[in-house]
Symmetry: C3
């Protein structure tokens, strides 16, 4: 038994496995392109050492602590900070031991695959984590994290990252991106425009955020036209730092296409806090279409990430804040939801809108048929809970026959867990090769074509779709 | 590498493949029964030569041009006619070259399987279409299309078609069917009764269509009872030409079962254009139940094809008209929707209602449980976007355990692409054999039974369900 | 061809099959734990002989007669009793012959697997049932059913049942459970608290049932607090007989968490028959949360079985009564539906709520994400229409990557078909071993871990989750 088998994620059937191996051999060393994710630009800017193993791999990773919490472990015991600052476990080694003791809970999950890959390839671990070897592995990782060649920029280069995009608030001054640019370091780190705080009336501090938007841009955000102009300026500012995309995480995929007059009236109600829930939703819907129209002009790729019920548990939100594993997928309608936006700009072949979903039932029913005809649409890879071997396989099986491979955009690692980036790309590449190998063994695709598609899925499509 | 491998669509695992081969060998030469589709009866009536390769295989096939359009090719450049008659590409060879250059877009799609099969078995092509060989393949096909043994009737016979059903508007005079009948040709081509234009209040020209219905039948379509009588007459007329089924393509699966008085009042509102959207939907719902009741009397099999959002893009509808690839599936409810109809006639074992869906999430949840208990219900094969290897596999995996094989009705090619009919049946037969082979290798079915089921799925069930 | 192959339900691929065999060898003889089902406690209490083969295996089994009915066989001819007592077929042999003649309809269904297993292992049948051998097999089974070692208690022991739970109405006096306990027999048979008749305002005789509840408990069920106290007393009574769980079969997964005052007012409206449909639904919703709160106190495990549209056909309900195969799954929302309950008690690690579904689209989208974070939640196994090889495989593929194995609870046979219990557990154990074997061959799980997980899924998890 090898800790990290060379054939992982490939079918056991020998012919299929041989083909998958050959396909994978042709793409495994391609540079990583990471067009969407949540790593912290400060890491690359300051290039400080990462903290201890627990604070690097457990405390910030909601995939990890949500599973432990679901089985009765307190988040406090995992060092997850509280909103009121009340004490939580501070000893990284204790957190690590608790994690190691419960590592069996991750059997069959992608987290297990990512962590094993990270342990083996980045930290040279040679056996499965357990209660027995927890301390030894902790010490090994902690020791390596002290070395300069484990600082963020060194890892960026070791990971063969060609480019990575962070996700940045519309009001962000991009100081870390500026610092990276000014440093002369050659690593390519670009921002993405994420305007929730000034687009979503339910975002905390929305009204003040509009004021800040005005301050930053010099545009009068008190009126609809000034507000739109402010967005345009911010987008241009992000583009100066290399941004090629915007990103939008709405509760639904609803869009709207009001007349400028109607939109202006709606904006006034929203801005002054008089809008009801329906109107606030309509405003978010309208803003997706506005962003798409701006994309037609400035070329930013529009990413739509709809359908998460954020912070489902109010008590957990109150005690631990956002992004603590309590975001739950919901049923999402795209066919009616996107229609106003598509009516406006959907047939523009120069526009690039990338759709994501947390609702797999739409792959074959809605997303593939839509992307299989509207030139502006592309399908993002399986997202979040579905960024997993079975999730990826289902995506290919359900989307390919109607949308083909070329209306998809390769892989997003979408992660804030920097050390896991190679592991995540590796899973995607392997699963795609396994899928292609099956098509070849079933004579649905020729082997020479499969090599070309594998290369496109791993590298070319993402660069083209994201203009990177 | 063989262009069209004998083992295509079979599992790579040797035991499963051997069994699949054996099953397929037993059914591959069975006649094709095509109980539902959209070929043009005029072809069989006039028996004219087909036009050039592009006009035969590309220009009329929305599976083909929607994919090209989704990747930025203009429909005008593919020769798709415009509604205002403005010029489009007229050179078949140019269209063909554009298609060949983009043939890679179809990798992993059923269109690719169908076309390769058609190229290889009908036109003797021996290598994959590419930009390089586009002209040679065009010339080869164009040459064959000039021959008499490539005219519609010759192909019908070559395809081993036992019977084919067209789909015909309720107001159609069936002149082509009459011409076929009068010609003495032995090919069996039957119509199906598709009454959208006189059943759907949202159909263009609905009021005038009712007048035409009155003219044709001599019934007073201005009153509910006369309107129903007119339908009965038209159904009888279609039966004279061999029709065994009606077909109904509604936006939803909603049915209603109003009292005759309520229905009459609703009809008056609909007929006079006073009905609102809810009432128009209710009228369509009521008409499904009326059609089912007529089926109890006259024996026509009732097909329900619900859930397509037709002509999703208004601008494309305006420029290119209907059926241009902009029909998008929607979530469809059958359990509540069909209840009024089922309450009325669902337990009648002499009635045959065949359900289709564009929403795969209902296979296991709704359709199999309904068809697995109501004697009147049968499940149609995977439809449209799901008429594909993965789609068929999912259908068998999700429907069989609750509905069994014998509440399904074999295969529908459902196509207007005449040359692809053998390819489509071949895919269905192969996928079913592969599925059955898996059941055999997993000892869930004995091999002798699998042979019987394969025969039933390929031939017996469709004949029985459609009374052909 | 062996009638019951040792490798059934395992992948054909040799490596995967070898691993599956090894995993299965390690668990196949583990005792059966049956934490939820519908066998009749009277059987174990009186220990009378079972009736003839048809009355044992066909007449009471809606899986069996619904399939035959769907293909045109009258329920009367299968001996299914009518509500008005009008005559039905009384000759078990005739029923058996009709069944045998139609046995082919069950090809590809779990019923076929269960029956073949029962025939082979319990009754020593050595060939597939057919019209030809129907009488011989009938005679064989009938002969065995006369023997003392085929009485309920003997079978219970032969089946290696460690414990079985029945499902019992809240007003049940548990006389059979008392008789079992008093008999000195060592078989462990426990009740489960199923309070539909006093919780669901739409249940026939709801008001009278509340009166009976008051009579039995001595609590004033005319007021909210007395009504709740009565529930607590009944739950305590059930616990005396070994109950560890309650069970709730609601049309939806809606919950509510009203203030005591609001709940009291709602109860008064419901009790006096003044509540409208919305209020009656809200009352059921509120009662789920009340039951969860009681579970926090008394430790009963809460099972929620939502989403069946019961008695879909009114004419069949009228003629044959409830549970006749006309219960149809519906789309079910858990994310919004369960929120009030989860807000109240969802993060309590001492509470155990087991969720079931008839809507597979929620496995990956809703149930796994919810159970993967809320400590109170666990996922029940595939239920009813999905209690099948393909259904189980889909469950593992869709739930494991987010919820892991350890937020699931092993297998429920959920059956009233006592002789099929070993067959059902055997299918679940085999499918789980096949799934684990795939993970091992794809190097997603080590083989030593797979053995441990197989043991947990077959035995440990169900005991822990149900506190058995």
């Amino acid at each position: 038994m090898v800790f990290l088998d060379d054939d992982r994620l490939f079918d056991a059937e020998p012919k299929a496995r041989d083909i998958a191996r050959a396909l994978y051999a042709g793409i495994k060393d391609l540079p990583l392109v990471s067009p969407h994710g949540h790593t912290d630009p400060r890491w690359y800017a300051e290039n400080e050492k990462f903290p201890d193993p627990a604070r690097l791999l457990i405390v910030p990773d909601h995939y990890v602590f949500r599973m432990l919490f679901s089985q009765g472990t307190r988040l406090e015991d995992l060092g997850v900070p509280t909103t009121d600052g009340s004490a939580v476990e501070a000893d990284g080694r204790k957190i690590w031991r608790l994690f190691a003791k419960n590592y069996y809970l991750f059997r069959g999950t992608p987290t297990r695959l990512w962590l094993d890959h990270t342990f083996a390839t980045l930290f040279g671990v040679t056996e499965r984590l357990s209660e027995a070897n927890a301390d030894a592995i902790y010490d090994r990782i902690a020791g390596l994290l002290e070395r300069d060649d484990f600082r963020p920029r060194a890892l960026f280069e070791r990971f063969n990252l060609e480019v990575i995009s962070t996700t940045d608030a519309a009001l962000d001054d991009l100081r870390w991106h500026r610092m990276i640019r000014d440093s002369g370091w050659q690593g390519r780190v670009v921002p993405a425009y994420r305007p929730d705080s000034v687009v979503d009336p339910d975002f905390p501090g929305f009204a003040e955020n509009l004021d800040k938007l005005a301050d930053i841009t010099g545009e009068d955000s008190g009126h609809w036209s000034g507000y739109l102009a402010a967005h345009r300026k911010r987008r241009a500012y992000f583009k100066e730092f290399g941004a090629t995309s915007s990103d939008h995480g709405h509760p639904t995929a609803e869009t709207a296409n009001l007349s400028p007059k109607e939109a202006g009236t709606l904006f006034d109600r929203v801005r002054t806090g008089h809008a009801d829930a329906r109107e606030r939703g309509q405003f978010r819907a309208q803003m997706l279409t506005e962003m798409a129209k701006m994309s037609v002009d400035d070329g930013l790729v529009l990413q739509i990430h709809p359908g998460a019920w954020r912070n489902h548990s109010p008590s957990m939100l109150q005690r631990f804040g956002r992004d603590k594993g309590f975001d739950i997928p919901t049923r999402t309608d795209y066919v009616a939801g996107l229609k106003p936006l598509l009516d406006a700009v959907g047939t523009d072949p120069n526009l690039s809108i990338i759709l994501f979903t947390l609702d797999e039932s739409v792959y074959a029913r809605e997303l593939a048929p839509l992307a299989g005809v509207y030139p502006a649409l592309r399908l993002g890879p399986p997202w979040w809970f579905h960024d997993s071997p079975e999730g990826m396989r289902r995506f290919r099986e359900m989307a390919t026959e109607t949308a083909g491979f070329y209306n998809t955009v390769g892989f997003n690692d979408d992660t804030r867990a920097f050390p896991s980036i190679p592991a995540r790309h590796d899973v995607a590449r392997r699963v795609d090769c396994a899928f292609l190998a099956r098509l070849v063994t079933e004579h649905r695709l020729d082997e020479d074509e499969a090599h070309e598609v594998a290369h496109d899925l791993a590298y070319n499509l993402v660069k083209k779709a994201y203009k990177l």
